[in-house]
Amino acid sequence: MTREMTGAKMVVQALIDQGVDTVFGYPGGAVLPIYDEVFQQNAIRHILVRHEQGAVHAAEGYARSTGKPGVVLVTSGPGATNAVTGLTDALMDSIPIIVLTGQVPTFMIGSDAFQEADTVGITRPCTKHNWLVKDTADLSAKIHEAFHVATSGRPGPVLVDIPKDVQFASATYIPPSKTPVGHYQPQVKGDMETITELVAALETAQRPIFYTGGGVINSGPGASQLLRELVDATGFPITSTLMGLGAYPASGKGWLGMLGMHGLYEANLAMHGCDLMINVGARFDDRITGRLDAFSPKSRKAHIDIDPSSINKVIHVDMPIVGDIGHVLEDVLKVWKARGRKVNSEGVAKWWRQIETWKEVNCLKFASDEKSIKPQHALSRLEALTKDRDRYICTEVGQHQMWAAQYLNFEDPNRWMTSGGLGTMGYGFPASIGVQIAHPDALVINVAGEASWLMNMQEMGTAVQYRLPVKQFILNNERLGMVRQWQELLHGERYSQSWSEALPDFVKLAEAFGAKGIICKDPADLDDAIMEMLDHDGPVIFDCLVEKHENCFPMIPSGEPHNKMLLGEVSLKDAIGTKGAVLV
């Protein structure tokens, strides 16, 4: 059925037809007609954020925790520019987001009109694709195309810029079923020849390792299921990037823990010493590889990725497979089973014995303290007290983020929302709001540092308005902890601008917003305080005053390979050479 309607109504109708139930947004002059339509319907719930950056991160949290695209509606000019950080974050982490922006009327574009910005120009490099719609007749099809592009292939953020006169004008609405299929149809099936080559490598490898990433999660729950089947059937060890945590359960027998700059000793040494590396949906990020010319020198490498540009970008691989993780793993399993489910059991058993000796180093051990709360201890207790619940974890960016990845265990995909690629401080709080909106009955915790948290603290208003019981678990060291750590290791302990002066009283801050605040500084009170946070039915700011100078270990110093990890406070001096110091 086709119908005549205004552009503004088309927007709402297109969202409904795309199965959208929630929109995160903030109104303004150039989107008023759309907001008028939002007012006159009940199919879509609009969540009013307090800053457009918060809207995009909330949509990211919604998308990551549900697997569905997140939708954002903001105004022109500053509304659009405030969304840029969120768009870039979503692009780096491949999160499907549709951002709809208002624009000044078409006849005023280019005249430096009030709240005019070249939105498609500004967002061109930070979206997967964007459109400026100049004719109402094209609007509905463009929005449907936007959903297709955002969710197909390697997912990512898209933006549709809609001038105000296009919102007012009328045209015929085109439903998704009648929208022409574009040429954008990324390849999902992998090359069978290379898949067979990979299977042959699986059969003979003596020191294999699965290195998995966010691509497994993006491919959907089916891909995680296939990964688990393959890993458990082969008995190979598996490690994951920050983005991929939860695809394989932390309780699984193959699990080595996260790898990378702050990854586990056993995971990094296994990567360094393996003879077959199977990269499943990860991208050899610099946080993972360390020094490139010494990265896993003796291994043959397979790389499964839906994005051809990820292949051979930084690391040369021997078996490139372009395709969707789910499809490729299905074919790998099929071929491997058909060829008799063979592995080099003797070699792999020896490999595991080697890995066990690395595990004995117990790289996550830390010295507990009776006087102050160690951040590692705080997270260990949070893990112990919440692990059996229906739990979603978000984080901000910094030391707390790495500790959360190390000390919390993830059993399922879509349960861990963190800004991996862009490293956006201020991501976690709005993301936790998006997660809680999508999962109203779940326990949603944002593990934060006080500095990151302050970057989007205005979203307390959103949490209280919608009665979202998000738990803000702030590890407060009154420092920009990771910056401080690098200054200690690299810049002669000159702590330039890396402590938080004039912090708010977080309990009073919570109360000022109408929420609950809890402060805890004594390790003896920690469990009770965490339980108090969990038992409270409403948003909580938990101000956990932790040891101020704790460093995050293990650590691969920048410019060093995996086998040059630092395990603790020993021999820190000159750990990072001058060459490494220029790296971030």
């Binding site: 694709h129 290379t194 051809p308 051979n312 490139p320």
Partner: protein, 186 residues
């Protein structure tokens, strides 16, 4: 991996997989990119090159299919084999891009550029300019008593050579279109 394993449509099509890892040798490649002729598509392509630090030696663009609204962008770029592969993969990721052809590796191809050169002078220099233009098969498309505008078509190095010869003879201005290229044969 032997060359025999490479087949059309396979993920292993890249000839660079046969080479030593990440060679430092810089190569020049001519790429032909077929794109939807929509607003901003050229900005996407150029933005990709500037944003990721790739080189553009020459760029031409025009709509080649008026009914299908397809444009052909021809880019001459330089980079190590790994960078060239990245450029092609990154171009392929742009949503309105239909096809990326690397004419340099796909077989023999013809490459042509058009240039207009304004040469001022009188007497012997003027005669010499005309004589050289004849050798290069350049056409005179405008003339005054003190100047010529020559039109020359050819590969970029032919135009370079002609411009070098015209310089002492009074070359004032030069306008070049950039390279257009097509593969030879079927």
């Amino acid at each position: 991996m032997s060359a025999l394993h490479i087949k059309k449509g396979s993920n292993k099509h890249s000839a660079y997989n046969l080479r030593p890892n990440f060679s430092d040798v810089t190569e020049k490649h001519t790429l032909a990119i077929l794109v939807d002729n929509e607003a901003g598509v050229l900005a996407r392509v150029i933005g990709l090159f500037s944003g990721r630090g790739y080189n553009i030696e020459s760029l031409t663009v025009a709509e080649v299919d008026h009914t299908g609204h397809l444009s052909r962008i021809t880019i001459v770029t330089t980079g190590t084999p790994q960078v060239i592969e990245q450029i092609k993969a990154q171009l392929g990721r742009i949503v309105p891009v239909h096809k990326v052809h690397d004419l340099t590796v796909e077989g023999p191809f013809v490459e042509r550029e058009l240039a207009l050169l304004k040469v001022e002078g009188s007497g012997e220099k003027r005669v010499e300019a005309l004589r050289l233009a004849d050798i290069f098969r350049a056409h005179v498309v405008d003339s005054t008593l003190e100047s010529f505008v020559f039109q020359l078509t050819g590969a970029p190095d032919k135009i370079d050579a002609f411009a070098d010869l015209m310089r002492p003879l009074g070359l004032q201005e030069i306008a070049r279109t950039g390279v257009a290229a097509l593969s030879r044969g079927l």
